[in-house]
């Protein structure tokens, strides 16, 4: 509650509302009622004024009535006994000669969400269904749905359902659509409203009278109708033809979806519909509203999964505007990458090149990655650009270019020689851990082609003590062993030092174990090691040669025009799977997506923490971050981990409780340092994890994630921001 003095405010309002002088002055009275609503919106609990507000509902002033009804609907469920007092007034209004008053009263009476309302509203609703004013009928039809939702488990009233089906023939278009909506809700358990041939054709003929909202909704309902014959199908399609080009994007898109669905057996019809809707879709991508633009872009991406060439000539429409928000720019770059062909590649690359120096590092990195994707087909031109970018000597650009090189070499082995030459000539090295890992991978994998490789690697081995990220250390170990296999003379000494340090002095268990593994492996002999350590040097699936597949439309048309394409992988699992397959295998950690979800209350957390058993306990190998609680909390939120509570300051033992979610599982964890009873906790953090329901794979991934985004590192980036 934002207002602490709520009781005072309520008391004062009550005094004012019950003051006869105020009641006599209509304007002042209304002002006070307005005030009550204002406080209600702000979150103040003004339910104590219910009695006074009920009195205020007996008025001829419609504005005042509306305000009071809004109040009553909000609080009726809290004060059911008082709300009953208002019902008399409402029922009287339901018989008012003015249809507006009738409709208003009926709508609000149905909005009272409290048990036992049904007996009061049933009769007015039935009367309302036969009202001569269409306004009242609209309200009454939805009232049926509201009544059903009040008592979801009662038997369906057959007479009402029949009446609603009959009202589908109502002259008022909104009544017709409301009937569909109401039937859909009432018959939900039986599969929703039935669209048979007469109803479908009736709806199709009424389409022109409906407003755009109703049109798109009816189009969605029609998705469940299956035409009997091809003749009927084509009749329907020609009826709907004009709507494909509607100036309302939502109608055009809903029509397209229906077209794709109905014509699923006629690919040429589908292709033709896509071709014709490409104009409105493109227009949406350039709409004034940024949100609409984004929705348009997401759907263009979907269409391109089946028809990659459809927007080829319009590639310039996907150049980023200067002032566009980054979420639009990212999508546009993804689309541009897909649209590249022999004619436009030079222009697209020039455009992408100009984004690489953008002030936002994320955008610059995405642009570099996009050039890397194009490089799989047009290696030479892209490598020139990427090499040129290295000359800028900016950390985030260098890092992104090196990462792009790594991916490129993996997918496109013929570019290896050129990449190795560039990497060898590159003087400065990336500073962030992602970039370091990429560079090390390149050095290890292609050390034989980079003459300076051992010297660069030696620099990393010498600086090992100051290296914070354990992922970099692991990569360094692997790279050094691989390098030893191809250039033993130059590498032997430093590999020895590296292994010695990692085994003797390293505190991170994972790094130590990895070092031990390699050490023992090397003891078995070089050939044995070579067999284990070296793998394929490029993507064995040959995805580059085959190019991207044109997916059948049925892959995506079920999620077309839903929230799925906008939310990305969150709503439609199959796209997540394909995009994951696109990634090189060592990016596996990106496949789990933790999410924040709604906050847990302290009580729920505590109860679950006590109920569940500790699944896993691990020493993390780094001490607790010495950052302010706010910073730490923000840092954890970045990696989608919520914080529940902290021990303040430097108290020993230090504890923190955190939690996160991943699709189906809730993960609770405790961070602990300096507790006498827990072994190993005096120097570094110990994490204990509990899960509901248990999912072992997720647990491993959670740890991987946690170690990867070393908290102290995260907090420092957060403080910089």
């Amino acid at each position: 509650m934002p207002y602490l003095g709520s009781e005072e405010v309520v008391k004062e309002l009550r005094r004012a509302l019950s003051n006869p002088n105020v009641q006599a002055d209509r304007l002042r009275y209304k002002n006070y009622i307005t005030k009550v609503i204002r406080y209600m919106t702000q979150g103040l609990d003004v339910s104590a004024l219910f009695m006074d507000m009920v009195k205020a509902s007996a008025t001829v002033d419609i504005v005042q009535k509306k305000l009071v009804y809004l109040y009553m609907c909000t609080y009726a469920s809290d004060k059911p006994d008082l709300a009953l007092l208002a019902i008399n007034t409402l029922r009287k209004d339901c018989a008012d000669p003015n249809p507006m008053v009738r409709g208003l009263a009926l709508r609000n009476m149905c909005n009272f969400r409290m048990p036992g309302m049904t007996e009061y509203i049933e009769q007015p609703i039935v009367a309302g269904l036969r009202d001569k004013a269409s306004y009242v009928r609209r309200v009454a039809v939805l009232g049926c749905a509201k009544m059903h939702s009040l008592q979801p488990n009662t038997e369906i009233d057959g007479t009402i359902v029949n009446e609603l089906y009959a009202l589908l023939r109502d002259p008022d278009p909104v009544v017709v659509v409301n009937c569909l909506r109401a039937l859909e809700e009432i018959l939900k358990d039986e599969g929703g409203v039935v669209i048979n041939k007469p109803i479908a054709h009736h709806l199709l003929n009424r389409m022109k009278d409906l407003d755009s909202w109703a049109q798109s909704e009816v189009l969605t309902f029609l998705l469940r109708y299956r035409p009997r014959s091809d003749d009927e199908l084509f009749d329907i399609l020609s009826l709907l033809d004009a709507f494909l080009l509607s100036s309302h994007a939502h109608v055009a898109v809903a029509t397209l979806r229906l077209f794709l669905h109905l014509a699923s057996a006629h690919p040429t019809v589908q292709a033709d519909a896509l071709l014709r809707t490409s104009a409105p879709l493109l227009a949406t991508c350039g709409a004034a509203s940024r949100e609409l633009r984004f929705a348009g872009l997401c759907h263009v991406q979907q269409v391109m999964r089946s028809q990659p060439g459809l927007f080829g000539t319009h590639y310039k429409r996907f150049f980023c505007g200067y002032s566009e928000p980054s979420y639009i720019k990212f999508r546009k770059m993804e689309i541009l990458v897909e649209l590249v062909n022999d004619e436009n590649v030079a222009l697209v690359l020039e455009e992408l090149r100009s984004y690489c120096t953008d002030v936002s590092p994320e955008l610059a990195q995405a642009a570099i990655a996009a050039i890397g994707r194009i490089a799989r087909t047009y290696s030479e031109k892209c490598l020139d650009i990427l090499t040129g970018l290295l000359g800028l000597k900016q950390d985030h650009i260098t890092s992104a270019v090196i990462q792009t090189f790594r991916d490129l070499v993996w997918f496109c082995p013929q570019s290896t020689a050129a990449v190795c030459q560039t990497v060898g000539a590159c003087v400065d090295s990336p500073q962030d851990s992602e970039g370091k890992q990429a560079l090390l991978w390149l050095l290890g994998e292609h050390g034989d082609q980079i003459s300076s490789a051992p010297y660069v690697m030696e620099g990393y081995i010498d600086g090992l003590k100051t290296e914070l990220s354990s992922a970099v250390k692991m990569e360094l170990l692997t790279a050094a062993v691989k390098m030893f296999l191809c250039r033993p003379a130059e590498t032997q000494d430093m590999l020895g030092r590296l292994l010695h340090y990692c085994i003797e002095e390293e505190s991170d268990v994972c790094v130590r174990d990895r070092a031990l593994l390699y050490y023992r492996l090397l003891q078995r002999g070089v050939e044995e090691t070579r067999k284990v350590v070296t793998g394929p040097k490029s993507d064995p699936s040959m995805s580059v040669l085959t190019g991207r597949q044109e997916e059948p439309i049925s892959e995506w048309d079920s999620t077309f025009n839903t929230l799925g394409p906008l939310a990305g992988c969150d709503l439609c699992p199959q796209t997540a799977a394909t995009s994951a397959a696109d990634q090189p295998s060592y990016d596996a950690e990106e496949e789990i997506s933790l999410s924040l979800g709604p906050p847990l209350s302290h009580e729920t957390f505590e109860k679950m923490w006590l109920d569940l058993e500790t699944l896993h306990r691990q020493t993390l190998g780094f001490p607790r971050p010495r950052a302010a609680p706010d910073t730490l909390q923000a840092a954890l939120q970045l990696v989608k981990i919520q914080t529940l509570a902290f021990t303040p300051g430097d108290t020993v033992p230090w504890k923190a409780y955190i939690y996160t979610r991943s699709t189906e599982t809730l993960i609770l964890a405790e961070l602990l340092q300096g507790d006498q009873q827990a072994p190993g906790s005096d120097e570094s953090l110990v994490v204990s994890v509990k899960q509901q329901p248990v999912n072992h794979m997720l647990l491993n991934l959670f740890f991987f994630f946690f170690a990867l985004y070393d908290i102290s590192l995260l907090t420092s980036t957060c403080m910089l921001q």
Binding site: T41, Q42, K316
Partner: protein, 456 residues
């Protein structure tokens, strides 16, 4: 279907909250606000998905939001509706709010909250959109709008986060049209006026040698109508207007658009032969026609830039170096017209510390914005045919030759009043039958830069 609709200020204050289905508690507002502000920068319109307690997808609550007037307009839903419908609906809600309250700002929403509740009550029932047409709504809306003063220096509430509301707020016509449509009833504002605006948004990319690489115009004809009763209006466009790429261009200066779309209420029976749109405008603002033109501009792009960028060492021994940026900017508009609020952003090398400039007139300003790695040159008025130049000396310690690559591309923003780049004109505007009493008709043209980029 929509579960809740709420409007939040940029600071997260609850301005409007309406729960249509009682499925979710009011806490979802704070859940949404936390999500949308958790990360820096603008968030996409579908804010993430708020999973149910056990991450069950179907019981999750989705938020869809748009930003208009510096406010968050949010709808939450438990189903999986068409994003286009919800986004367009929220935009429509914002447009109606603007129609009824005169302007769109935190202040006007706060002052007119009762009116907005009334609107919402008629527009949506049980989460289903009922109607958004002004003609129908005006019969039901009884509350009078409280209009805030058009402009005051102290009223900064409508400035968005970081003043970031960019193009959208600029497209709004001048103050004359920003008053509530319902304020009639014999008061001062009740003039019978109708405004017809032709608004074009220009997005252009000019290559490094001055070659036009991309040009794109999105235009619309927008009507803002204050007439209380509706009568048919005829809007005559250029007779030589041709539509589509296929039509051959003769030697005449044909006005061409690639494609156009009309509001469904527009009658087009005279369009093919006479290029006349017939429409019965309802009160408030509506877009009657949208059109677009790609790649072929009928005229030269409004600005040409002749840049030169050089490296200059002041003192080689202490590695004090600077970049000299000389910009010559020519406005290729006809001499009588003027470009307003021209601003030019030039990215500068990372690590630039300070800048000195030589500008040609005192009303221009220039500043270095180290945070954005850019310098900003602003010209309030730029007459057609004129040429302005400026010299910027940017100090960059430790400059390398590669750093010069960081200078560019230059982006510009400006507005061109009384100008359309396609050449689309309104020949006449007739109300039939002729209105009794005074009715004033206004036609306004404006072109905005949506994105104007010049590579160096």
């Amino acid at each position: 279907m929509i579960s809740q609709i709420f409007i939040l200020s940029s600071k997260g204050d609850h301005l409007i909250y309406k729960d249509f289905r009682g499925e979710e508690s009011k806490d979802s507002i704070s859940v949404f606000y936390e999500m949308v502000t958790a990360l820096s920068g603008d968030q996409p319109p579908v804010v993430m998905v708020n999973y149910g307690f056990w991450g069950d997808l179907m019981s999750g609550l989705h938020f869809i939001h748009v930003r208009q007037g510096g406010l968050y307009w949010v709808a939450s839903t438990k189903t999986n509706p068409s994003p286009f419908t919800i986004i367009e609906f929220l935009n429509r809600l914002a447009a109606l709010t603007k129609d009824y309250c005169g302007s769109l700002s935190e202040k006007s929403v706060r002052m007119n909250f009762a009116l907005i509740y009334e609107l919402l009550d008629e527009m949506v029932d049980f989460g289903y959109i009922q109607t958004t047409s002004t003609d129908i709504l005006k019969n039901f809306i009884q509350t009078e709008a409280v209009s805030s003063k058009p402009f005051s220096l102290f009223d900064l509430s409508n400035v968005g986060l970081f003043g970031a509301e960019t193009q959208q707020s600029k497209v709004a016509p001048s103050v004359a049209a920003s008053r509530p449509i319902m304020s009639s009833r014999g008061e001062q504002g009740g003039k019978n006026e109708i405004f017809v605006d032709v608004i074009e948004r220009l997005s252009v990319v000019i290559g490094s040698k001055g070659v036009l690489m991309k040009a794109d115009i999105q235009g619309e004809i927008r009507i803002k109508c204050f007439l209380p009763t509706c009568s048919e209006m005829r809007i005559g466009l250029n007779e030589e207007l041709s539509i589509g790429k296929s039509q051959l261009k003769g030697y005449s200066s044909a006005v061409r658009v690639d494609e156009c779309r009309f509001h469904q209420a527009v009658k087009l029976d005279e369009f093919d032969t006479f290029r006349i749109l017939k429409v019965c405008p309802s009160q408030g603002e509506q877009t009657v026609m949208q059109y677009q033109l790609c790649d072929e501009l009928p005229c030269a792009p409004p600005f040409q830039l002749f840049p030169s960028v050089e490296k200059d060492y002041v003192n080689r021994s202490v590695n004090l170096s600077m970049v000299l940026i000389f910009l010559k900017l020519r406005c290729d508009l006809p001499p009588k017209s003027t470009a307003l609020n021209v601003s030019i952003t030039v990215p500068v090398p990372k690590g630039s510390t300070s800048m000195s400039q030589e500008l040609s007139s005192p009303d221009q300003t220039a500043e270095l914005q180290p945070k954005n790695k850019a310098l900003l040159w602003e010209i309030p008025r730029f007459p057609g045919g004129a040429q302005l130049s400026a010299l910027f000396k940017v100090d960059v310690p430790g400059l390398s030759s590669a750093s010069l690559l960081e200078v560019g591309p230059v982006s510009m923003s400006f507005e061109l009043p009384k100008q359309t780049c396609t050449g689309l004109q309104i020949r006449f505007l007739r109300l039939s039958p002729t209105q009794t009493g005074l009715s004033q008709r206004w036609v306004r043209y404006v072109t905005h830069s949506d994105s104007y980029t010049i590579r160096i």
